[in-house]
Structure formats: C-alpha cells, structure tokens
C-alpha cells in the first residue's frame, strides 16, 4: 500500500507548550477523518504537514517527501485552511484563478481549472461577485475550490464544514466522497464526529497532541461502547420518579440521577441504541411527556475523555 502521510515521533513545541507530542502514524490512500476536540493539536498537525511549521523533533513525510522548504510538493497537495481569510477585493473567480496561476498553470488552463473547481463547489452562481459580499458558506466553498483547483493527489481540509448550511454540508460531503472515489486522498480535520462520519469510516483520533486511536469507525465506536453513554432527559416533575423506576426495570441503565423538582433524569447506559429504542414505550406506559432529551456525549470532548480513560 502506498503511504500518503507518514509521521515518525513528530513533535512540535511552542516554547514550553506541546502542540504535537511524539506522533507516529501512517495513512494510506483514501479519505481519513482527523478527529479531536478544540486544542487537540489538529491545526498544528495540519500546519506541520503543509510546511507552515517545522517539526521540533521527528519527521513528517507527505507522498514520500519532506514538506518543509519544499514548495514543489504543493503541486500534489491542496490545503483548505480553517480560518476565514481572503483577499476580499477579489471575486471567487479571480482568487481561485490567481492561485491556479501560482500552481504553475498558464492563463487559459488556469481559467478552465478555476471554472471546473468552482462548479464542483457549487460556486459558479456567485463567482464574479467580490468576496467581501459572501456569506460564510460561500466563503467556505471558495476556500475549498482553491484547494482543489490544481487537482491534488492529497487534499487537506481543516474544519471544512464550519459555517456551512445543511445543503452546503450535503454538497461538500458528496464532493469529498466523489473526489475520494476518483483517487484523491483526503484528510479532513474536524471536532464534530458525525460530520466526518458521513464522508469516511477511517479515523485518526488525537487528543492533547497525541494519537489516541486509529482505525475505522466501528472500532472507535466499540471502544466508546465500553463506557457508559450519558443521556439527560427532562419531563414533567410528577413523572420523574415513575419514569426512573420503569427505566431501571426495563432498560439497560447502569446509573441514574434524578431531580424531581426540575424534572430531570441523568441516565448512564452501555447500550444507547437499545435505550433510545425502548424509551418511548416506557414513557407511554405511564403517559409521561418528555420535553427534552440530550445526549451528553454529543460533544467529542466527552468521547475523548472516555478514550483517555481507556488508554
């Protein structure tokens, strides 16, 4: 298998603060999710891969080459940064076209590639308007278009879904999948599990600057399932106790806290699927109205805290 990205004991120090800590991993072709909560080291890793930062120790190889001081590698690598930065006086077309020219294409080729990239990102409608007039979603699409304009072999997307609406997310998901299907290897950094889950099953989990786990989504989910999943439920105060009793009797609950005054139940379960499936029937039995139900594990932070506990 060809190695697309390889790090060996990769470490980045910002003074005494560790950005990336002794990371060693390899990624093959395909789409990979780089998951971690804010401050996990995703952006630092992205910057090391794209030669914006130099490793303090260890090495990083992209498509077999060291990226630091090697601009030639960007013929094969595309990067969509996290931050919302543009030459606001330009239109999306001018912006992407200029960057295509900097990728080494002559003007007519750059024009064709620009039109194609903007079309793929559904940006043709607004591509001749100045960027300063764009919505966040339009700006996000423009950023992705500049990253794919030169048809890279390896594409890095740092929080690409940030600020996009549901339609934009769907379109971007489809675009990433189609690029992946056409042979482009892609690394998508995100702190939202389900966003990346829609694009790939391969994940690299990082936390505190370290690689926590690699593998497919099923392995990660099975790791997560070894730890209780926490769900908070809000119902009418008079139904709190009967509902709690029924849950303990009929659902696989490993822990439960209730506040009868506020009408809230904090439930821990190792089988969230079964719990969600059985809850409506339990609620119907006692004619309880459930006003709100939130999974405390929606935040990737919580998932990672579980995983830190595992290792």
């Amino acid at each position: 298998m060809t190695t697309i990205l390889e790090t060996r004991n990769l470490t980045k120090l910002y003074g005494v603060v560790i950005g990336v800590n002794d990371m060693t991993f390899e990624l093959g072709p395909g789409i990979h999710g780089l998951l971690g909560p804010n401050g996990a080291g995703k952006s630092t890793l992205m910057k090391l891969i794209t030669a914006q930062l130099r490793p303090s120790e260890g090495s990083v190889h992209v498509l077999g080459e060291t990226p630091w001081n090697n601009p030639g590698i960007f013929r094969k690598v595309g990067f969509c940064p996290e931050y919302d930065a543009f030459y606001d006086f330009m239109s999306a077309f001018e912006f992407v076209h200029a960057l295509a020219r900097l990728s080494g294409f002559d003007a007519p080729t750059a024009k064709k590639k620009t039109e194609r990239a903007l079309e793929l990102c559904s940006a043709t409608e607004f591509m001749h308007r100045p960027i300063r007039t764009y919505s966040k979603g339009m700006r996000q699409r423009t950023k992705v278009a500049q990253a794919i304009v030169h048809e890279p072999d390896f594409l890095l997307l740092d929080e690409p879904m940030s600020g996009t609406d549901p339609v934009g997310r769907h379109e971007l998901t489809e675009l990433v999948k189609s690029l992946g299907a056409s042979g482009t290897s892609i690394l998508i950094a995100s702190h939202v599990l389900h966003e990346v889950e829609a694009m790939t099953e391969n994940f690299l989990l990082i936390y505190g600057g370290r690689v926590l786990a690699t593998g497919d989504v099923h392995e990660i989910r099975s790791l997560m399932d070894q730890h209780p999943h926490r769900i908070q439920i809000r119902c009418s105060p008079e139904h709190t106790r009967p509902l709690a009793e029924r849950m303990i009797e009929r659902l696989s609950v490993t822990g439960l806290e209730l506040d009868e005054t506020a009408g809230t139940l904090d439930v821990a379960t190792k089988s969230p699927e079964a719990f969600y499936h059985g809850l409506p029937e339990v609620a119907l039995d006692i004619e309880a109205t459930i006003h709100e139900m939130t999974s405390r594990d929606d935040s990737l932070e919580a998932v990672f805290k579980y995983l830190v506990g595992v290792h």
Partner: protein, 255 residues
Amino acid sequence: MFTIAAMHMRQILLGSRRWLLTLGLIAPVFLCTAIAFGGELNNETEKLIVPALVLFACYTIAAPALAALLYGTSVLGDEIQDKTLTYLFTRPTPRWQILSGKYLANVGFLSAATIASLLIASLVLQPRSGILLGLVVSTAVATAAYNAVFMFLGAVWTKRTLIAGVFYLAVFELIPGFMPANVRELTITYHTRCLVLNLSGITDDIPVEAEPFIAAIGDASTEQSLLVPAIVILVMLLLTTRVASRREFALTDEP
C-alpha cells in the same frame, strides 16, 4: 512572479495606506508651490541651488523613504495579519518568486507615483533640466533600495516593523548620511545625492564660494552610486528570501 505582482499591485491600490501615500506625495507639491510663490530668489546661484535642494530633500530622501516605510515593511506583515499568507506559501511557487513579485510591484508603483509628484512639483519650481534628470534617476534608485531594506526588516520583524524602519532610517541613514569619511558611503542617502550631483551637471555652473558645500554632499562617481544601491538591493532580497524560507509563519495564536 507576475501573478503575485499583479495581486500585490491591487493590494496597494485598494489598501488603506493609499491615503497616507497620497498625502505624503501631495505635501511636497504644496511645499514647492509655497516656496515658488512665497520666497524670493535673489541671484543665479540661489535660483540654481534652492529648487534643486528642495526637490532633492523632498523626493530623493523623504518621499522614497516614507513610501518604502509604509509599503516595504508591510509586504509580509499584511499577509500575516490578514492570514492570507497560507494561500501563497502552500503553492508550488518558490518563496523568492513570491517576494520578488511583491517587491517589483512595490518599486514599480511607488517609483511611478513619486516621480509623478516630482514632475508636478518641478513644473512649479522649474529646476534646470539636467537637475530634473538627476532627481528622477535618484528617486527611482532610492525607492528600489529602501524597499529592499524595509522588506527585509519586515521579514525579520513581522510585528512593530514600522518602529524598526524608523530606527533604521534614523540610525543607519540620516545620521551617518551626513557624517564624513567612509561611514556615509555605506548609506543609500549618500549615493542618491551623489547621483543627483553627477547627473545634473550642477557642479560645472557652481560658483567658487559654493564649492565646499558641494564637496560636503559627496564625491562618489555615478558608477559607484549605482553599484552600491544595486548591491544593497541584491543582498537585501537574498536575505529576505533566506529569512522567509527558514522561518515559520504561524498564522494563529495556537495553542
């Protein structure tokens, strides 16, 4: 390189500093107008020297240095502040080409703007034609040299670059520029004023009593005064490229 130059030219034309530059280039025109209509030049020597001196001070020292201070120091700083540098540095374009493109745009635009202002001021003060030629060449050389120096300072100090630029002008240009002996020959100011002197032919017509004053300006040949700034430009561009290639330009405050 020309794509970068074209992009940078638009940044100059649309950036907020253009108003400061406009002000800086209109002010000398007003000053020359005030001198032309307000002051009275009594004899031929005054008529020869005063316009030359005023235009020299405004256009080969002040205007190029200030324009370069505004634009040369910010070549990388603006891209870092706007976080757009990532787009340029994650392309297969070598950094020397990116920097050279920006440098060419700076020098081309600022020379043209400064010389345009000089020509307008010359219409008012009407210096001798030879003097005007010397001033135009000298202004272009000064703009090119100061921009190279300030671009280097901007690569080394991406923050507080203006302070570094002002410090450079005061300590390395203005004070040594008027010092005797070899110290002044290392400054850009010295060579630009020698250029004006040599190209204008003013020394042929100067009265005997003004000769010590002319001697104090400088005695470098035209070749020397073109060669030294050319070396400064080359060295500064090489150093800037070296700094830009070796340093990390982290665009966020992470972690």
